[in-house]
Symmetry: D4
Subunit: 251 residues, 8 copies
C-alpha cells in the first residue's frame, strides 16, 4: 500500500522473487524496504540482509558519507572495524560511523538475517563524528514512557543527549492494550519493522492492521497512533532522524 504520507509492506511480499543483489557481497541477497524517495521519506535506506554461511563483504559500504546501523534478527554475523571483530547474534546492534571501512562475514553455520539502516551522516562544524557502538538489546533495559505504567517502553542504544548522532534506531515495546493515545505528528521520518505481536496502527487518516514481519514507512509529519493487541507483546524496530537544523536551500 503506497500513499502520499506512508507505505506499508506486508511480510507476505518478502519472497524469493523480489530479492536484490549488491556488488561485492558474496552469498548474499536482500530486500530493500526503504530508500530515499523525493517527495516522500528522504533521509534513509533500509535493507533486510540475508547472508549464507561463509558469505559477507569486504567492501560492505561503498558510500563514504554513509553511517549504518545493523540489527540482527537471526543467525550470527561478525563485523570487523578498526582491527577488532564483533560477533552479533539475535538482538545484536551495531552503529557504524561513516568512512569506517567495516567488513562483515557470516562465520556461523546458519543463514544470518539482519537489518541494515543507512543514512548520509550530516556533519556539523564543532561536533565530532560519533564512535562505533556494539550492543545487544538483551543488555539494554527499556525506558518506560511516562504515565503508561510500563505499557509502552523504548530500548535506546544511543544516549539521547549525545547530539553527535543524527539518527536513532530503537526498539519500541507495547504490552497488550498499550496505546499511543493521540495522533503523534512530528518532523522525524520513520521506518518501523514489526518484530513481534500485532496491532492496529494509525497512519495519517487510516488505521492498518499489522503484525510481525510487516514494515511501515512514514514521511515526515505523517500522524500516527497505535492499539496493541495481545496476547503477547507488540514490538518494532524504529528509525528516526534527530538533532539537526532543517536544511533550507532547496530551490
Amino acid at each position: 500500500m503506497f500513499t502520499e504520507a506512508y507505505t506499508v509492506i506486508p511480510k507476505g511480499t518478502f519472497r524469493d522473487i523480489v530479492t536484490s543483489f549488491l556488488p561485492f557481497w558474496e552469498q548474499t541477497r536482500l530486500w530493500v524496504i526503504a530508500r530515499p524517495l523525493s517527495g516522500f521519506a528522504e533521509t534513509f535506506s533500509q535493507y533486510i540482509m540475508e547472508v549464507q554461511p561463509g558469505g559477507g563483504s569486504s567492501r560492505a559500504e561503498l558510500d563514504p558519507t554513509a553511517e549504518g546501523v545493523l540489527f540482527v534478527v537471526g543467525g550470527e554475523i561478525t563485523v570487523s572495524l578498526d582491527g577488532k571483530s564483533h560477533i552479533l547474534t539475535e538482538g545484536g546492534y551495531a552503529f557504524l560511523p561513516p568512512a569506517s571501512g567495516w567488513t562483515l562475514r557470516n562465520q556461523g553455520s546458519t543463514t544470518a538475517r539482519f537489518h541494515w539502516i543507512r543514512k548520509a551522516y550530516e556533519a556539523v562544524e564543532g561536533l565530532e563524528k560519533p564512535d562505533p557502538i556494539f550492543l545487544n538489546e538483551k543488555d539494554v533495559p527499556p525506558t518506560p514512557m511516562p504515565d503508561t505504567n510500563g505499557a509502552w517502553a523504548t530500548t535506546r542504544f544511543v544516549d539521547p543527549n549525545d547530539l553527535r548522532h543524527d539518527m536513532h534506531v530503537t526498539i519500541v515495546t507495547f504490552e497488550p492494550g498499550g496505546v499511543i493515545p493521540f495522533a503523534e505528528t512530528h518532523v522525524m521520518e520513520h521506518g518501523l519493522y514489526v518484530l513481534e505481536g500485532k496491532a492496529v496502527y494509525r497512519l495519517n487518516q487510516d488505521w492498518v492492521e499489522v503484525e510481525a514481519g510487516d514494515f511501515m514507512w512514514l514521511r515526515a509529519f505523517c500522524p500516527q497512533a497505535c492499539y496493541a493487541g495481545g496476547p503477547g507483546k507488540f514490538r518494532y524496530l524504529l528509525y528516526k532522524d534527530v538533532n539537526r537544523h532543517m536544511k533550507l536551500s532547496r530551490l
Copy 2:
C-alpha cells in the same frame, strides 16, 4: 458519522438540546439512538432514558407488539408488571414481553438513566411468548469466548437455547489487548453502547476509535472487528436479533 453500513454517535452529542419527549412519560426526557430505518438497520429502536425522581409512566409502551429490554446505567427504577414491583439499580436488566402492560417509576432520589431497547416481537406458531426476566449483571457470570484466555467474554441474560426469544441483549467485555481477530460478518443487526474503556473498532471498511459513552449501530452484514485498549476493560451493551427465519415477502 452516518454511512451505508453503520452509524457512530459519539458521546459528545448527548446534550440537552437534542433530547426528545414521549407522551405519557412524566419528568422524562430521552435520546433516541436507534430506530428502524428502511435500507439500514430495521429491527429495533434504542432510547437512553433519563427520568427525574418521581417521574415515569403508567403507559410506558404504546405498541402492543413491542417487547422491551431495560438496562440501568445510573440511579434506580421501579418496574411493575403482573402486580409485582422490581427495583433495578446500576447493572439492572429487565426483559419485558409484548403486551405485558408494565409501568415504571423513579422512586429514588437521584436521576435515573437506563437504556430501553424495543423490538416488534416476531411470534412463531408453536412457540410461546417468552417470560419476563429481572436480573443484575453482577449476578450473571460472563461466558468466556473459546481460545481467548478470557480476554473476551459475554454476559448473557437469556439462555441461548431458548428459541422463544428473537433478540439478545448482552454485555461484552474485553481485557486490554483483547481482539476480535477477524472481520465478523453476519446477518444480525447490532446496537453497541460502550459502557467502559476504549478501543479501535472496525466497521465495514473503516476503523473508528470509540470510548465509554459512544454508540455504534450496524446494519445486517456490516463487518466488524476490534482492538481493545487499556488500561482498564472495554465493555459494551450489545443488541442482536436471533432465532428466526428470514422474512421473504418484501416485494
Copy 3:
C-alpha cells in the same frame, strides 16, 4: 448534491424549467424540495408554492391524514378554515390540522410565495388533534439558546410542552460568528431552508457553504454543525418531527 445522509439543493436550481403542477390548484406552480424517500428522510414533504393573484385552491390538501404548515416568504395569501379567513403576509405562519378542509386564495396584487410543509399526522390514543394556529414571526420573540449570549436563537410557533404536535417548524437565527459547536446528531429529520445570510454548514462528514435560498435536507441521525458568516444574520426555516415513539413493525 445527493448523498446517503443529506441533500443540498442550491437556490440556482429553482428555475422555470423544473416547476411542478398540482391538480385543483389554479394559477399555481411549485418546486417540490422534499418528499418522503424510502431509505432517506421519510416523514415529510416540502413545497415552495408560487400563486399568482387570483390563484389558489378550494381542494388544497387531498390527503385526509395530512397536517400542514405554511410559511410566507413573499406576497400575501388568504387561508380559510372553519368559516374564518386569515390573511398571511411575509413572515406569516399557519398550522393546519389534518382533515380540516382549508382553502387558499391569493387576493393580493402580487405573486405570493410560501413554503408548504406536509406530514401524515401520527395520532396517539389519548391525545387530541392539535388546533389550528395563525401567527407571524414578527409577533413571536425568539428563544435564545443557553450559553450562547444570544448568538443562536429559535423562534417557536408551537409550545414545546404540547405533545399533541408531532412536528415543529421553527426559525433559527445566528448572529455573525454564531456556531453550533459540536456535531449535533439526533433522530429528528430536518428540512432547512435558508431565509437570510450565509454560513458553512457541516452535514455528516462534509462542510458545505450555503446562503439565502439554499435548501438542506437531512436524514435522521445525520450529524450537523454550523459557522455563521457575517455581515448580517444567518436564518433558516427548520422542520423536525417530534414527540412520538419510534415505529417498530417494519419487517
Copy 4:
C-alpha cells in the same frame, strides 16, 4: 455503474446473455433497464423489447393498475385496443391507459425493437383516466427551450396542461454545443435512453460520457447537467413523473 443517486447502463451490456423473458409473450425477449427499487427510483419500469416477426402477446400487461408508453426504435408493431389496430414504425409512440387490455403483434418481416415504460397510474378523485394516444415523433414539432436559440428542444406527446397524466415521456434534442447550463435538481425521477449522438452528462457530482444506446437512470433530486458534443444532434428518450401530490404515509 450503480451509485446512490443514479445508474448508467452502457450499450455494450445489451447482449444476448442478459436477456429476460415474460409469460404470455411469444418470440420475444427483453432487457429490463429500470424497475422500481426501494431507496432508489421507485415510480417506473422500462423494458427494451425485441419481438420477432409473428411474435407478440395477447396478455401484454398483467397488472391492471399499470399504464404504459411504447416507443419504437426499429421495425414495426401493431397495437390493438378497443377494437382498433395501430401500426407503429420507427419513432412511433403509444400511451396505453391502465386496464385497457391492449395487445401487440409484430406483423412485419423484421425484428421489432421498442421501449416499454410502465407505471402504476395514480388516480385522483375528480380527474378522469387519460385517453389512449398514438403518434409518431415525425408529426410532433419540438418545443424549443426559452433562451437557447433552439439548441435545446423537447418533443412532447402529451399536453402539459392535461393534469390527468402522471407521467411524461418526451424526446429531448440538443444541437452540438447545446448545454444544460446549471445543475438541474428536482423531484422527478428520470430514465434517459440516448437515441443519437454523444455528450458529457453530469449526474449528481460526477460527469459521465454517454453515447447512443446508453441508458441513464436517476433518482428523485439527482442533479444533472449536460454538454452535447457534435458533429450531429444529441437526442434521448426521457421519462418523468408529474402532476401529483407527494405521498406521505410511508411510516
Copy 5:
C-alpha cells in the same frame, strides 16, 4: 465488505461464533449469507446449513409462500416430500415448490452441509406452480457459453423455457483464463457462492479477489465481470430471479 451495490462475505467469517439457529431444526446451525434487505437485494434468502447426524426438521419451512432450492456441498441429506424420500449427496440439488411440506433428516454418519435458497414464489394467473426436482450436478452436462471455446459453461437444473419458474439456481464453471469480457449489467439479483478455484471478480466499479468459500451478493443492476485464475477450474453456485414482470405498486 458492504457497499451500496454488492456485498462480499469472505470464507474466513464462517466461524462458530456467528452461527444462527432456527425453530424446529434439531442439531442444526446455520450461517445466513443473504436475506431480503430493503434498498439492496430484495428477492431471496440464502443459508449455509450444517446438520449433525440425526438432526433435521419436520417443520423445515414455515412460510407457505416460500419455494426453496437445496444444494449439497458435504455429507448426505434425506429430503421427504409427497411421501417419497430423496437422498442427496455432494452435488445434489433439490427444487422444493411452495407449500409442499417437505422434511429433512441427516441419516448419514457425518455432518451434512448444504445451501438453502429461499424465495417467495411469485404466482402468475394462468401458470401452474412448478414441480419438485431432484438432481445431482454430476448428471447434468454443462451448457457452454457461445464463442468461449468452453472456457465458460453453465450447469442448468431447470429448463430455461419453463416460465413457471421465477428463480434459477445454476453452477457456473470457468476454465483457467476464462473471462466475462464486459461489465454485465442486468435486472437479476445474484447470490454467488464460490465452490472451487479463484478469480478476480468485478463488482460495480471495483475488482475483488475471491476464492472457494467466499460469497458475493449483488443488487439488481450491479455490473459484474470476471477473470478466472488457475491452475484449476473456477466454479460458483449462482442464484437469479427470472421470468416475471417488474412489480410496480411500490409507492
Copy 6:
C-alpha cells in the same frame, strides 16, 4: 492530517514525546512544525522554541544564507546583534538578516516560547540585504482589508513596498463572522499558526475546524477560505514568500 496540498498539525500533538533538540542550544527543546519538503512547501522552516531560564545559544543559526523571524508567544528573550541587545516579550517580533551572527538568551525567570521561521534569503543583484527589525505587535496598528468593515485585518511588520524582503510574517485578525469570501489561490506558500479563537478553514477541497494552537501548512497554489467563529477574535501568525521571480532551472 497530511495531504498533497496542505497539512494540519493540531495542538494536541505538541507534547513532550515529540520534541527535538539542536546543537549549541542549551536548555532548549523545540517542535519543528514545517520544513522544506520536496514536492510540498519548499521555502521555509518553522520551529516552536521553548527555552528555559538561562538557556539559549551563542551559535543560534548555523546556515549563513538563512534569514530568520522570531515571534514571542510567552516569556521573554534577549536577542543580541551587532553589539546591541533587544528584549522581546509576548507579541515581540524580530527580523534577523542572513549571516548576522545573532545570539539569544532567556534572561527571564520563566520559560520562553517563541516561533522561529527560517528561510534561505534569495539575493537579487542590485538590491541590498534588508536591515534587522525589532518590534512588538502592540505597536503596529493592523491594516483593515478593503470592503470588510474591519472584520478582517493584517498586522504588517515589514513595509510591503520594500522589495528587499522575500518573506512576510504577519498577524491576521478576524472578528466573529469574518470571512475570506472566495477560494484564495496563489503562488505563495503559507504557514498559519492559530494564536487565538477558532474558525472553519477551507484548505484545497476540504473544510477543517481549527482553534488556538493548531498549525496549518500550505503548498503553493493551495486554495483557502475561512469562516471565523465567535465569541472572540480569530487570529493567526502567517508566513508567505514574496517579491521574487519564480526559479526556473529545476531539470
Copy 7:
C-alpha cells in the same frame, strides 16, 4: 483545486489581494499562475502581468537562461530588443530568446494585461538559439485538426519543424460541440488559459467545467479530453514543452 496531476485556478481568484510584485518592474503587479514545482509540472512559469500606463521594466528578465513568450490580452505594450521596438496590442505574441536583454514599457493610456511564459531554454549542441518573433494572432491562420471539419484548430506562432524551439505557445479553438474525442495522454506539460467560451474539460479522471478566465495546469502524462459548449467558440492559450530528449541524471 490542487491534485497530484493537475491544478485548476478559477478566474474568481484573480483579485487584488493575491497579487505579487517583482524587482525592477514599475507600476506593475502580477498573478503567478504557474511555477516549476518539484513533483508536479517542472518546466515553466506563467504570469498574468498588469502594467499601468508609464510602467514597465528595463530589467525585465533577470535569469540569463530564460526564454519568454508574451501574449497580450488587453491594452498595448512596447517591447524593445536589439535596438528595435515592437508594439503589441490585443492578440499580440512575442518570443524572446534567452539573454536577449529585452525591455518593456506601457506607452498606451490604459492598463496593459498580458501573459508572460518563462522557461529555461534547453540548448542542444549543434542547434542554434531561436530568433525573436513578433506576431499577432489575427495574422496567423489557424491549422484545423484532421478529421474534425474545422471544429478543432490550432494557431501556431512557431514552425513545428523548427527543432531549435523547446516550447510551443499556441491558441486552440473549438467550435460549439467540438470535442477531444479520447483521453490524450503525453509527456508534454501544459498550461491552458481559457481566453473565450466554456467547456467541460477532462483532467486525469475528473471532468471540470471551465470558462473564460480560468487556468488549467497539467503535469506530464495527465490525461485530458474536452467537450466545448456553445453558443460561441471555446479558445485557450496553450503551453507545451517539445523537441528534446528526456533528461536522465536525476538521482
Copy 8:
C-alpha cells in the same frame, strides 16, 4: 490515469496528434511513455520510436552517461556500433552501453517500430561497463517461475549474475489463468508494455484491465499482482533497475 504510485497509458492514446520529435533524427517520430519524474519513477525514460524507411540518426543518443535498450516490435532496423552493423527484426533486442556512439538506420522498406529504454548508467568503482548485446527473443528460452507449472515465465537477455548491469529489460509471459498470486512490492521501478493478450493487473490498491498496446508505469514500492485472461498468452516487456546500493545524499 495518473496516480501517486502508478500511471496507465492505454493504447488508444498513441495517436498522431501526441507525437514528439527529436533533434538529429530524420523521418522519425516518437511517443514518450516514461521519463524520470521527481516524486515518481526516477530512473528511466522509454520511447516508442517510429522510423520511416531511410530514416534514423547518426547522433542517436546525446547524453554520454545514457545506456540504452532497443526492442523491435515491427519492421527492421540496422544498429551500428564499433564499426559493426546489426540488423534487428521483430523480437530483436539490443543493449547499448553508455558513450558507445551507436547509430541507427531503417534500411528496410516498411516503417520500423521499436522501444527505446534509456537510463543513466550508474558506474561502480571496481566494476567494468557492460558489453553491447544483440539478440532476438526467439533465440532465448524463457525461464519458468518456480512452482507455476510454466504458467509464468521470463525471457532474460542479460545474465542475472552479471552485476555490471544496473537495469534489466525482459519479456514476461503468462499462460491463460496464470497469476501473480500476491501483491509483489519491491524497490525496483517498472515500465510494462503489453505485447500480447489481456489481463487484470493490480497496481497499488486498484485493479486495472489491460490489453496489448497498453503501458503501465510503476513507482518504486508500488504493489502489483495479475490475473491473465485467455484465450492466448499475456506478454509484456518489463523494465527494472537492479544491482546497486540505494543512493543516500538527497538532502
